[in-house]
Every structure is written in C-alpha cells, then in structure tokens.
Symmetry: C6
C-alpha cells in the first residue's frame, strides 16, 4: 500500500457538519492522489474536470457518497 494518509487525523468524527463536509472532500481527493501519485498529471487533470460539466457532477456524486458515511459516523451532529 502506498505511504499516503487516506483519512486525515485517522478519524471520521468532526465537530461540525461543515468540518465533516471538508473531510468528505479531502477523503475523495486522497483517493485520486493514491491512484495517480504524479502531481503534474493531477494538475493537468484538474483543468480537464474543472471545465467539464459531467465530471463536475460526478465529483459531486463522489463527495455525496463520502459525506453520507461521515455524517452517519457523527450521528448527523444532532
């Protein structure tokens, strides 16, 4: 396994929904980093998906899925 942290702070627990959402975004990005470790390639791909409507929507789906897990872990910060 590559030496890269996949879950920042090694915890799904956050103080607020906002921080939970940020964690979801970070976790999604870290999988991209794990799969494509080359920073230059990732930078180029960022320009690609940043101007592609379908890819932006797909990124939204990924974050939604990660956030579902983080939110459940935090009992939805009720």
């Amino acid at each position: 396994m590559e030496e890269i942290t996949l879950v920042p702070n090694n915890s799904l627990i956050t103080k607020t929904p906002e921080e939970g959402r940020q964690l979801a975004v970070k976790m999604a990005r870290l999988i991209i980093k794990l799969t494509q470790p080359n920073a230059d390639t990732r930078e180029k791909l960022r320009e690609v998906y940043g101007s592609d409507a379908m890819m932006l929507i797909a990124i939204g789906q990924t974050v939604a899925a990660e956030f579902a897990t983080v939110a459940a872990a935090n009992n939805y910060w009720r």
Copy 2:
C-alpha cells in the same frame, strides 16, 4: 481548503422536507463551486448541462444522494 461555506448554517437539520430538499440542492451546488471557483466558467457549464438530458439525470442522482443524508439526519421529519 478554499474559503467557501459547504454546509449552509452549518447544520443538516431543517424544519420541513421541502427545506431539506433545498439544502440538498445547495450542498450539491457548493461542491461544484468549490471545484470550479470561476463564476464565468460555471455559468457556461450551466448552459451545457441544462440542455443535456444525461447530465440532468446525473444531477438528479447527486441530489438524491445528498437528500438521503439530510433526510436521515432529520429522522425523515416523521
């Protein structure tokens, strides 16, 4: 992390299903904004996905996923 609010009011709790659905839509849109901060580019992409059947369907999937989390957080407003 970009300085942008990802969860309006920093809470998943809403008074009604309607407000919960609106929150789900907003949260989905904020991920697009986070990923593509340029307002002009987003405006152009909006014209793209607004007239593309597959992208509209994909947006529906994203909102459905976000709403599942918001609805669970609110115990489905039972």
Copy 3:
C-alpha cells in the same frame, strides 16, 4: 432558490408503497424542472432520453435512490 415545490405535500410519508414510488418519481422529475425551468427544452429532452437505453437506465438509478429514502421514511410500510 427558485419558487418551485421540490417535495409534494411537503412530506415523505405516504399511505402505500405505490404512492411512495410515485413520490420518488415526482421528486426526481422536480429536480430536472428546477435545473432546467424551460418547459420547451424539457419537452425536447424527454424525446431524447425516452429513446436512449442508457439514459432510461440512468433514470431508473435516480428513482431507485429517491425511493430508498422514501421507503426508509415510511419504515417500509411494514
């Protein structure tokens, strides 16, 4: 936020699974309407996805996701 009702009757509770399924379909359609408010454009897109196998399948995925939430809200009408 556009002035459009996103959750009919502002409730996820329905009397039967059949009505719950209809609600899931309506909620999915209302997101399309929110994202593309122009009725003529939506009518044209309907002809597109109605004759496209992949889009029909994707619509099925959207409804399945919405229905999962509605069904959970109703404790599966057990």
Copy 4:
C-alpha cells in the same frame, strides 16, 4: 401520473430473497415502462442494451439499488 402499477402487489414484503430479487428487477423495469410507454420502442431498446456491456453493467447497478431497499424492508429475511 400515468396509470401503471409501479410496485407489484403494492408491497415490498416478499417471502424469500429470491422473490425479493425478482421484485427488485420488476420495479426497475416498471420505471423504464413509465418513462417510455411505447412497447415497440422498449423492444428495440432491449436489443440495444442486451448487447452493450456498459449498459448491462448499469442495469446491474439499478437492480442492486432497488434490491437494497427490498432487502431492508424484509429485514434481510433473517
């Protein structure tokens, strides 16, 4: 709303996992029927997705999503 039954027997409860799986398949198909009511068009599309690997995989994802709901409704037939 079109006059078409979306949930056979108006119930998610089945006697066995096998019947639950069949219900999931039927529910997925009924959304296709609702969205494309023309039987001839559906027949043509069936030939399309039946010989398209990606579409077959996507159908599998739809059924998996429907089945998740049916299985939860039946408390997994434990």
Copy 5:
C-alpha cells in the same frame, strides 16, 4: 419472469465476509445473465469489459452495492 435463480441458496446469510463477497459477485453476474440470456453474447461482452478500464470500474461499483446489502444482512459478521 425467466426461470433463472437470482439468489443462490435463496439466502443472503453467509458464514464469512469472503463468502458474502462471492455471493455479491454472483448476484451481480446473475442479473447480467437474466438480462442477456444468450451465453455466446455474454462471452463476447466479457472480452469487451475485461479490457475496458471504465467498465471494470463500473463492475466494481455494482459489486460494492450488492455487497453492502449482503454485509448488512449478516450484521457485518461482527
């Protein structure tokens, strides 16, 4: 409904996670078989998706969804 078994052993309960994962794979494959009953066609499609990166990823998504249900049914083999 075609005469094909959709849930092997008509149960979601397995002794181990490994067997649960195998069940998830089988259930995913049986939906393909149900939708495309012709063995020769399926064999040809297998060569298609076996060498297509996006399709392999999509298959992974399908299995993940089926496994989520099987794992929940078994209370995660805790």
Copy 6:
C-alpha cells in the same frame, strides 16, 4: 469461482479508519483482479485510468461505496 481472496483477512473489522480505508481500496482492486485476471492487461489499464479524469472520479465513487460498508461494520470507529 476463481481462487482469489476477495476480503483480506476474511474480516471487515479494522483497528482504525485509516486501515478501514485501505481495506476498502483493496477490496475494490480485488474485484478488478477477479474480473481481469491477466496482470499485463491490468497494468496497461492502470495507465489508462491513471490519466483519465473521469475514470479517476469513478474509482473514487467505488472506494466511497466500499468504505461505507467497512465503516458501518466498524460502527464508524466511534
């Protein structure tokens, strides 16, 4: 069924979220290996999806789905 381990250590239980995330990645990869057993083909496909923005996003969706199950199995390491 091919002779390949699909769930490392035959358990979904891990000590930490980080290990749970690694397990999710491994489980996703093992489905690719099961579906395409040829190591040379997999190596070539890795170059394909490593430089394709949409595929990287799709991989993120797969891992998110697997991780949802692993996280639930571990009661979110609360």
